[in-house]
Symmetry: C2
Subunit: 214 residues, 2 copies
Amino acid sequence: MDIIKLSSRQERIIELVKDHAPITSEQLANKLNVTRAALRPDLAILTMTGILEAKPKVGYIYSKKPSYSLIYDHIMNIKVKDIMSKPVMLDENTTVYDAIVYLFLNDVGTLFIENNGILTGAVSRKDFLKIAIGSSDMHKIPVGIIMTRMPNIVFVEKEDAAYLAAQKIMEHEVDSLPVVEKSCDELNNEILKIIGKVSKTNITRLFVKIGENK
Amino acid sequence: MDIIKLSSRQERIIELVKDHAPITSEQLANKLNVTRAALRPDLAILTMTGILEAKPKVGYIYSKKPSYSLIYDHIMNIKVKDIMSKPVMLDENTTVYDAIVYLFLNDVGTLFIENNGILTGAVSRKDFLKIAIGSSDMHKIPVGIIMTRMPNIVFVEKEDAAYLAAQKIMEHEVDSLPVVEKSCDELNNEILKIIGKVSKTNITRLFVKIGENK
């Protein structure tokens, strides 16, 4: 058996409540030509799921808030690895000018900077624009000078909830987070390898996708 | 009556199914020390909402996909006016340099350009960066020259679904949409007044908020 959908009678009840709210179970039973007793299981399910609200002595109204626990549960099951995209990376010795050209070529908002595959920094369109309106020579300054450097970069791991990525993006006011894989070097220092990125674009795409799954 | 939450017995059933899936209703009844008949309404609600799946001759399993129609319905009820933020606007005669400074002062990614309150254009961080690495004098060029001009701007209205805004952002690959109010001038031409904006940031914030309402 697959996921059970609402029955056509339940769908019909929802329509009636939308059109006539508040409406009592007696009025609903009349409109549907059934007994109140016959409607009871349907109404139980519809209020239980939060689709309808039962107001005592008033009747049923259509609730715009379904049971949040369902949505919450669903959202928490989506992982970073399900929505991440390929990071665009550069070496920190690249000049600012070349980095900007690379940003346009790849049509991204943030470049991640690496040194032998290890994440060392990140630089955004905003960082570049700040330099570009200054008096520095973009052809001479390496991107390593203007980037945000580790350990000041917020990141996520691929098994984290996509939701956590969205929270970190909002909390730290960044456009994009690197997705990293942690390991240790020979001196037992933690090193971070970059394997992906999650941006506001990925979150917006996810939001569109959740709505599509009607 | 507020939104009805799952009962503690229903929560307990979910936990048991998560731990022991697949599990039959008889096994569940044993573990909970109740009769199978007593469990029937709870199991009906839990499968109805898509939290559990009932596999014939196998038992109940935990479904990671709740009934999408609930999520869909909820998402479609959130309107642009519920999530929009204040637009940052400038006159099209402002120089590119001053516009960039204004962008930083207001900490936004897109400026909307107006003429007597009427939306005429939009210019993004990306547009500015493109000019900044060129050889033009940013102190001389007015922002009106580099902006995307109406009617090439995708917009939404305040009663539209926030979901539509997210779709348009993804489809047209923009960071931000103006929210407009339509009216007519004395010659009966449609004019658009800008009253807000919806960006990927607003959508990401909304996503975080949906998840918070546990």
